[in-house]
């Protein structure tokens, strides 16, 4: 077993890992971060996309020991504090999410694209997301979400519940 140290979503984490285990396996099985998804395991589908030392990688193709000492961001690290990020809100508002299984990878790829190219052309968006398969076929809506964030469009946060339990009548006490 090998001891590795990571800065994972801003937190120092360590794990004892087998040399042949991938970063994906360690994130999901050893560190309990299951937001990163497992599908093809050959670097084609993009479901396992994470950010490693400033670049996105297919975590199924990276050995965990290669990430030792590195900085890793997963979908769990995309929030703006307690709120969703503009990109996360845009995905919901534009209808980019159906089953949701590819979405963590799509978000990581989209986030990376906008860091590199804050105002991408449509072709750049298509290319930037080309490594992430969506079988529900939400590509147009995903690209719309990315382009709306790049354009600085104001995206509303999801509605919050309105019912007020504090105003409830007290049920009778009956012992």
């Amino acid at each position: 077993m090998n001891q590795i140290e990571l800065t994972l979503n801003g937190q120092a984490r360590s794990a004892s890992v087998d040399a042949y285990h991938t970063l994906l396996e360690v994130l999901r099985d050893d560190l309990g971060l299951t937001g990163t998804k497992e599908c093809c395991l050959v670097g084609e589908c993009g479901a396992c996309t994470v950010r490693l030392n400033g670049e996105i990688v297919d975590s199924c193709l990276v050995l965990a020991v290669e990430a030792d000492g590195g900085e890793v961001t997963t979908v769990e690290g995309l929030r703006d504090g307690p709120s969703l990020s503009p990109l996360q809100n845009a995905f919901l508002e534009k209808g980019a999410v159906q089953c949701g299984f590819c979405i963590p990878g799509q978000l990581m790829a989209a986030d990376d694209l906008l860091r590199r190219v804050p105002h991408p052309s449509h072709e750049e968006v298509e290319e930037g997301l080309a490594g992430n398969l969506c079988r529900c076929g939400c590509y147009y809506q995903i690209m719309d979400a990315v382009e709306s964030v790049a354009a600085g469009e104001v995206i509303s946060s999801p509605q919050t519940p309105t019912a007020a339990p504090s105003a409830l009548p007290q049920p009778p006490v009956d012992q």
């Binding site: 299951t34 937001g35 996360q88 299984f101 997301l129 690209m143 019912a163």
Partner: protein, 731 residues
Amino acid sequence: MTAIGDPVARVGGEPRVTGEQLYVADIHLANELHVKLVTLPVAHARVRSIDKTEALAVPGVAAVFSAEDLPGHVPRFGPQFNDRPVIAVDEVKYHGDPVAAVVAESKDAAEEAAAKVQIDYEELPAVFTVEGALASDAPLVQDPSLRRNDPLGSTNVLREHVIGWGDLDAEIPNADLVVENTYRFPMVTHFAIEPHAFIAAPEDEGVAVWTSIQHPYWLQRVLARVLQLPLAKVRVHAPDPGGAFGGKQHAKYEPLLAFMALKVQRPVRLVLSLEETFQAVRRTETEITVRTGIDLDGTFVFQDIDANYLIGAYADIADRVVGKGSYIGNGPYNWPAARINARSILSHTVPSTAFRGFGNPQINWAVESNITEAAIKLGLDQVDIRLRNLARKGDKFIPFDTAADGDWAQTVQKAAEMIGWGRPKPEGRGRGIALGIKSGPTTGLSNSLVRLLADGSVVVYAGTQDIGQGARTIFAQICADQLGAPISDVSVVMGDTAIVPYDQQTSASRSTVLMGNAIQRACGSIKEKLRERLGADYRDDATPAQQVQAALGRLGGEIVGVGEAHKDADPDHPLGGSALFFEFNATAVELSVDEATGDITIHRHVAVSDVGRSINRLQVQMQDEGAAIMGLGHTLMERYIWDDNGRIRNLGAIDYRIPTSMDLPLEMLSDTVENEDGPGPYGAKGMSEGALLPVASAVAAAVRDATGVAIRDLPLSPEHVWQALQEYKQR
């Protein structure tokens, strides 16, 4: 307050963008064991012996299962025929048919041990094609002893579905032109991004199962039967699947996992690889010959369809796919005479199952392409010929089935308008149009329970599965509208057979209609209770909180409503029931073909669906555009490739391509026709398969328009199109 039709953001969407959504593979139980399946590198073999010694010696291995570890007669199961053993018995029938399963403390140990299970086997002759399976000396896929009293029992034809109307033989000489062609549709696979995953655990003198499944209640019955347990002792937890598309309707490895969990008395888990899902589910391959008889003015005279559907080694739901997909194969037209002869043919291949469109895309590919060909031969416009023969609302276009339930001409005209039909085309472009129709559910029973809580918030229970289609959002919208609650105060509970009342299944685009009606009725029963309690004090404009609090006063608590919706069976109907509604779609494309490479660029793709009424127009758009893109997959790039031993050569994501963001039409336009004439809430019909049905037919028609080449085999991949162009030029 939101209204019906509004593009409300997905209910349950937030955990999908934060990584918090738990799919089956994300769930871990204490003390769990890991399973790895053992398969053979051949399609068909007799298993002489299984030596588990080396595998059992791997540290961490708890057990190695095979048929001998199951009850005397290994139970068989299946939605139509109980033909599939829980694990292979003496014989494997397709590449990927599990013959043993290792249970171990870790995934690594299970994998290592699976490779060390020694299986002595003898490869047997196998059939992988329609021609091979129908040959007089073909090896039989199913043991004839399982098919006693079946006149087809000594062949590989599982069932033959013959239906028709009118006097075909009398009409044949009346046609001015007869066009006959054969069309092929290859095997393709669902490729849900979430591979199937299963967990089983002993629980409460029974078993609990977690699985990525569309029909949890159907699975509950299957498990109860094979395990000989009361339904109440089988609990199916069904977290939202990460894509399903029909591939997650029916039991696969859940019975095996349940037996193993009960044997080792610990939770066991199996997460398939993508390669293993390719060996678990696929769409039925077809070879379809169509004879279309037509008059010079374009009036349809007769149609005769001979359809061979190559299903797999076990029936799964594939024979129903054949029957239900083919009976409506003549399309949305009035035919004086028609005949359809469709066979489900067994083969030594992956069991084929339901897949979005349920047998219709295959027959649509043949029939709509042949109508295009007939129009070209007669020099008639392809929209006009379809409109001339299209069933009008109320027409019994299939004499024994539901009458046409929409103004379909409106849908066709809208699609034609949106593609610019009849207007000049840019240089090098071709246009094509095709119509798709599919029968909705033919039977169904959906129950719902709705609780109006003391603070006016609402909990709705629905046994439907949210497989990505957004059922949860639709149900919350219906509840919010019916009870006057903000949608953010509505919670939808799904996915647990111990808690949520019965819903027959999540398929055939039924849920908005059947479960939607059940929920609307449950809300209605709440309103009735409120009226009963409040009498003259009932006020329609009161908030839900005011109503429930006024109704219950100091008693506190909540009002509970139940609702049911059903579609009864009809034993006289060839499908066992008439269509609850039809999904109708018109698809039109404009494209160009790079003659040097065969590559197709779709400049505009138009999909118009008759949905009755959109409950959520954003979700309708997502479904139609997603269906269109999935249709472009089998149209342009997807197919299984087989080797001589019946093994799939392109297992997995490297060699089997599905559409990416780089493969899309340059412009996608989807729209609806909404006449509120459906049987669901607010006049809704089911939707989400329609826009997939005619994609291949429309694209091939446009390729033909652009190049003159008629292609009758899918997919229209660059190499295939290029080759067809070369042959065409040499003629």
